[in-house]
Amino acid sequence: MAEETLTRGQDGKRRLSLRDLTWSWNPATPREAGDAVVRNFLLHWFPNKVAKASIASRYSMWLGVISLFLFLNLTLTGVVLMFLYVPSVERAYGSIKDLEYAVSFGRFLRALHRISAHLMVIAVFLHMVRVFLTGAYKNGVLARQNRRLNWCLGLAMLLVTLLLSFTGYLLPWDQLAFWAVTVGTNIAKAVPVAGEAVRFVLLGGHEINQNTLIRFYVLHCVFLPMLLAGLAAWHLWRVRKDGGLAARDRVALGERQEAAPPVPSKTYMLLGIASGRAPDVQTSLVDPERHLVPAVPGLLRRLLVVALVTFAATSALAIWMGAPLEAPANPDVTPNPAKAPWYFLWLQELVTVTTVRLGGWTINGALVGGVIVPGLLLLWACAAPWLDRSGPEATGVWFHRARRRANGIFLAICVALIVLTVIGTFLRGPYWNFYWPWEAWPAHPARY
């Protein structure tokens, strides 16, 4: 057995490494490493080789991968929860109570699902921040890249992630759920012309009842997850088509002078040679010995470690924090204060402070803060790659000097959103009045 854990080093001699204790297989040649990808069904979508720059954790921090694993975790726990949850206004709350107190491990599964959802919002957001600050939405030096499209796909996925969270916390049919639907669908109603009809279709009527619950249930369990899975597949496919992470383009850029002329042992695209921009020619610019490692085990081992850490962290947090449940939904009493989950409190702050009064005209904050401001932010974010005039040398590197202004604006927006979230979370009390954390809230009637 000991013989098999020995692997050949660069010089062809066998050596024992510490790695062999946890990973019994080590390819001896690049060919063997490539075969591991090609012959394995689970790995068939892997590249043959990845750039060391791409898998450096200080570059990507693995935030996209973490998001993907959290989504996987949410899908698995979500399917189990679907067996135990009843989407009916009479029984939804009771089935969540059962999960908490009567179902074996129900409390853990629900907490795991909830904490994974919260972490996914954080991970997806941070992933977006990372991509922006490294200029990774920019095309580098390879041909047929379309990172701008992939950036927009990512923004769409951020939106779907938030919609999944929104539809998810409605399902327990507690006070949080009921008043969140009330406010959420009234924001939709504030849209001119179509708003009323949109709200009617979302609720399945004029008021929040069984029609509403079943609609949000199907959106949460079927429609939005499938949409997200489709977008994620497209997103990852584009990462492959763009030649890996943007950090790899920097490697290619640095190696440009070392370009070798086409060699007869390789296949080139004719037009690619003529224009000098075919991916095959450019890929050959990256010295494989110095900059590339086989995806198996180089990438695979890191993915498994990230998955392990993600699952361990979510499990620990789930046990530590649990999942809260408010009083059953009561259309007669609005909780005071009625707070959204933390990741929507910036929006609650925005709709509170953005009612505009001009003379006799009043525009509801629901339209300004709930629709127009987030819409403009999203529009700006979508347009950012086209507005960015910096050269390819600013691609795939943190805080490049050429992108100082773009990064500044982006960070200012992020900080503003975080400040609004903090105000909403810690500094708002009854009737949405402002209170410092050390100020006691006045006594007020909690219910009629």
Binding site: W179, T182, V183, N186, I187, A190, F200, V201, G204, G205, H206, E207, N209, N211, R215, P331, D332, V333, T334, P335, N336, P337, A338, Q348, V351, T352, V353, T354, T355, T362, I363, N364, G365, A366, G370, P430, Y431, W432, N433, P445, Y448
Partner: protein, 169 residues
């Protein structure tokens, strides 16, 4: 479809049979795919609703005390001043939470009421006028009437009235 643009006849001339059939085929395929989509989306717009009636009997007029009474199921405040009634909707005009009645000491003495919203902090005066927070307009005045059969007060949630509207029994 294999015919290139060079085969497209000038306007006014009959088009080739193949091109015509291809166009009809594509059109039919498109219609065949669009129809179930339209039907699916339309089916989600409800035609029959099982909701609370919009006109609700809330009890005989003399059962109401003077001043405001909150009816939580209907989400309205019914005000009485002798024989005169009026009804304010408790639905915040900002984003639809239920406003709460807050009693305030008046500077001139006596008590007045205000309505405060717990969701985003909108504030309304006793007559429904919004004076603080994000609310874009005053609370709605709702129509009151007497039921012809048993003389109970009836609130019509679907019919708003002008500000200051009163109903005298």
């Amino acid at each position: 479809m294999s015919n290139g643009p060079e085969h497209t006849p000038p306007a006014g001339e009959p088009i080739e049979r193949r091109a015509l059939l291809a166009r009809v085929g594509v059109g039919l395929a498109g219609a065949a795919m669009a129809a179930p989509l339209v039907m699916s989306v339309r089916s989600l717009v409800p035609d029959a609703l099982y909701e609370m009636p919009r006109r609700i009997k809330v009890g005989p007029p003399d059962h109401f005390a003077d001043g405001p009474t909150f009816l939580k199921e209907q989400r309205v405040f019914v005000f009485r001043a002798g024989p005169t009634f009026h009804c304010l909707s408790a639905v915040c005009t900002h984003l639809g939470c239920t406003v709460q009645l807050v009693r305030k000491e008046r500077t001139q003495g006596g008590q007045g009421v205000e309505f405060h919203c717990p969701c985003h902090g909108s504030k309304y005066r006793e007559d429904g006028t919004n004076f603080a927070g994000p609310a874009p307009r005053p609370l709605d005045y709702l129509r009151l009437e007497l039921a012809p059969d048993d003389g109970q007060l009836v609130v019509d949630l679907a019919q708003t009235k002008d500000k200051g509207w009163r109903f005298t029994v």
